[in-house]
Amino acid sequence: MEALVDLDHVSKSYEDKAAVRDLSLKIEAGSMFGLLGPNGAGKTSTIRMMIGITLPDAGKVSLFGKPFGPGALKRVGYLPEERGLYKRMKVIDQLVFLGELRGLGALEATRRAKQWAERLQIADSIDKRTEELSKGMQQKIQFIATLLHDPELIIMDEPFSGLDPVNAVLLQDTLLELKKNGNAVLFSTHRMDQVEKLCDSICLINRGEAVLAGGMREVKSRYERNRVIVQYEGGDGFLQHPAIEEYKSYAGHAEIKLKPHANAQELLKAAVSAATITKFELVEPSLEEIFIETVGGRADA
């Protein structure tokens, strides 16, 4: 399948600081892509190059299989990191204006705006002026503005920041539904838990460089299943087993990290001989752990 977004070895510097260095990534239709990284890693710079707000110093940006051109932007929905709306405009006027700007007719834009407002539970706010709404509500309005023209490619810069958990889940579910309908979604975040649940592929960037990229399963499989969670009754002498690199022990519950290439079965045998084991689970590292492991102390944040 042809990639909707194809960044080919792009680089971008501002003044004396390199924001993005030799970054390549591809986003396929019908997938959800997570752009990860600590604050200041270059996520926003990368996104801005994707939609032509800034141009790369080196490398190529292709959208929908063609080199970037402004014509492609009608098929893209973009939510910038810092939310911007006309404060004094009525919500519905604002949505219709932005919809029209992306090629919808006024009537169609009005119809869709109302539909979306129902769906995101803000229908009673659309006749208010934007400045009268809470920040979270304004964010939902902008979310709608991004999606009104049913873009094939949805690019959102930190879409869930500043939302309460209920609304964050509402927007997450909406994105998942869009993905199911075949739209490609890219979002950036520094929150690993969101990516782990939502994304099919990720790219982790740090100091402008991709340090980890690929399908979610593939990335995680690259890391050993070297985490063990044990629940037990009895002595905890098995925690001194040579296969264990480090552990956290709570009453009858231990989280263990094994040494590289250690055999978990040996540990299980030792544990069974020392205590009554009620649970012994070998788990993949969470993305958060991978993130910390990869970026380590090198993060700028």
Binding site: Y14, R48, I51, G52, I53, T54, P70, G71, L73, K74, V76, Y78, P80, E82, R83, G84, L85, Y86, K87, R88, M89, F97, L98, E100, L101, R102, Q142, A145
Partner: protein
């Protein structure tokens, strides 16, 4: 592609237009300016009445004949006083009494005439409670000069009646060759249109120029420009903004223009000797040029405001550059008397071609005496060419400047931005 750009530009223009026309500022200024103009007109009439000669005065001289001649000359002058007391010859007590009357504002002042031996002209001194105005000064000077002539005429046996006929003030009828025809001119009214343009342009640039700069800054600080730029080009954004705001300006002008036409045709105006626009000294051609130069000037200064707005980071800084914005207009106004006096001098011609000054200076020249067609055409072409250049410039600065927020751009940085996008 071009269609898309046109569509976006019009959409943006429509939004800018509706947002402003619905705003309070629009309603207030639409109402306030005609009220202010009315107040100015009343004030003008009032201060016009003030520009009169001295009403009550005394003439003091050791030469009674001279004093009487001055009194007669004053009565025949352009500004005949109500009372003229002749004190000749005057004692110290008389002078003390006159000083007291001046101090009590019973008389405007007194004129002393001391004959100088061997000279025809006496030493004349005006004593009053306040500085004399120009009319009063001219009134006294011409009276003394006329009195000297009167004395000479009297010595040659000219009768009082003949003297009155000879010495009374004449009235100059002024005619003007305007666009090929000799018409009667009223030197004050023929520039009414030009002064109107200055006031209107000045007010619009101050109101809408600052308004445009504000809206650019608002888009920057609210970051909505990032959404806009992800769908529309910065050229569409800037052009749409200017067209929208320009349409607002025209709407307002239209309302004011309709009010003026309505006023000029009204019975109230007829009582003031005004019958229709023609008698205000405004011809149709002038009205058309008014529209052209108003629009050109308006767009040029609005474009400049947009460019300045794109280069600053906060609302407060908008205030600081409002002076930069209107300074060419101020310069035009300062140079106006010179241009009026020498409408075809090289300086006036050059100024009327330079876009920042063209709207006022060229329009004033057109009102004074129609300049050669090529000059008018060149001026209009340069004006609208620079509007286009200004929009282009503003769009570039907006495009790049807004992405580097937080600090204000220096001039070299701005030049670098221009090359970059």
């Amino acid at each position: 592609m071009l269609n898309g750009m046109l569509r976006n530009t019009l959409l943006i223009a429509k939004r800018e237009y509706l947002e402003r026309v619905k705003s309070k500022v629009f309603r207030i200024t639409t109402l306030l300016v005609p009220v202010g103009m009315g107040a100015l007109a009343v004030l003008g009439q009032f201060s016009g009445r003030k520009m009169e000669g001295v009403q009550d005065l005394a003439v003091v001289s050791s030469n009674r004949g001279l004093a009487e001649a001055v009194k007669a000359a004053l009565a025949d002058g352009s500004f005949p006083p109500q009372t003229v007391e002749v004190v000749a010859p005057a004692t110290d007590a008389d002078v003390a009494r006159l000083n007291a009357e001046v101090a009590a504002h019973r008389i405007g002042g007194y004129l002393t005439l001391e004959p100088v031996p061997g000279e025809a002209e006496p030493k004349s001194t005006w004593v009053s409670g306040s500085a004399i105005n120009l009319v009063g000064k001219a009134q006294m000077e011409s009276a003394v000069r006329a009195a000297l002539i009167r004395e000479q005429l009297a010595a040659r046996g000219v009768s009082d009646a003949q003297m009155h006929a000879l010495m009374k003030d004449t009235t100059l009828n002024t005619m003007q060759v305007k666009n090929g025809a000799v018409v009667s001119s009223d030197s004050e009214r023929s520039f009414l249109g030009a002064y109107g343009l200055i006031i209107v342009l000045y007010a619009s640039v101050l109101i809408y120029g600052i308004n445009i700069a504000r809206s650019v800054v608002e888009e920057k600080t609210s970051r909505i420009f990032e959404v806009l730029l992800s769908t529309a080009s910065s050229d569409s954004l800037m052009l749409g903004k200017l067209l929208g705001v320009g349409a607002v300006g025209l709407t307002q002008m239209g309302i004011w223009g309709a009010l003026l036409v309505f006023y000029a045709g009204s019975a109230m105006a007829a009582t003031q000797g005004i019958h229709g626009l023609g008698s205000l000294g405004i011809t149709r051609a002038e009205l058309a040029f008014f529209a052209v130069f108003f629009l050109g000037g308006f767009f040029l200064y609005s474009g400049l405001a947009a460019a300045l707005g794109s280069s600053v980071s906060g609302e407060q800084e908008v205030q600081q550059f409002s002076f930069i914005l209107i300074s060419p207009l101020v310069v035009s106004v300062v140079l106006l008397p010179y241009v009026l006096a020498n409408p075809n001098s090289t300086t006036a011609v050059v100024l009327s071609l330079l876009p920042p000054f063209a709207p006022i200076i060229m329009y004033m020249r057109i009102c004074a005496q129609m300049p050669p067609a090529w000059q008018v055409a060149l001026s209009v072409v340069l004006l609208f060419g620079s509007v286009w250049a200004m929009v282009w410039l503003a769009a570039r600065i907006y495009r790049v400047g807004v992405l580097m927020y937080g600090k204000r751009a220096t001039l070299p940085e701005m030049i670098r931005w221009l090359r970059y996008s």
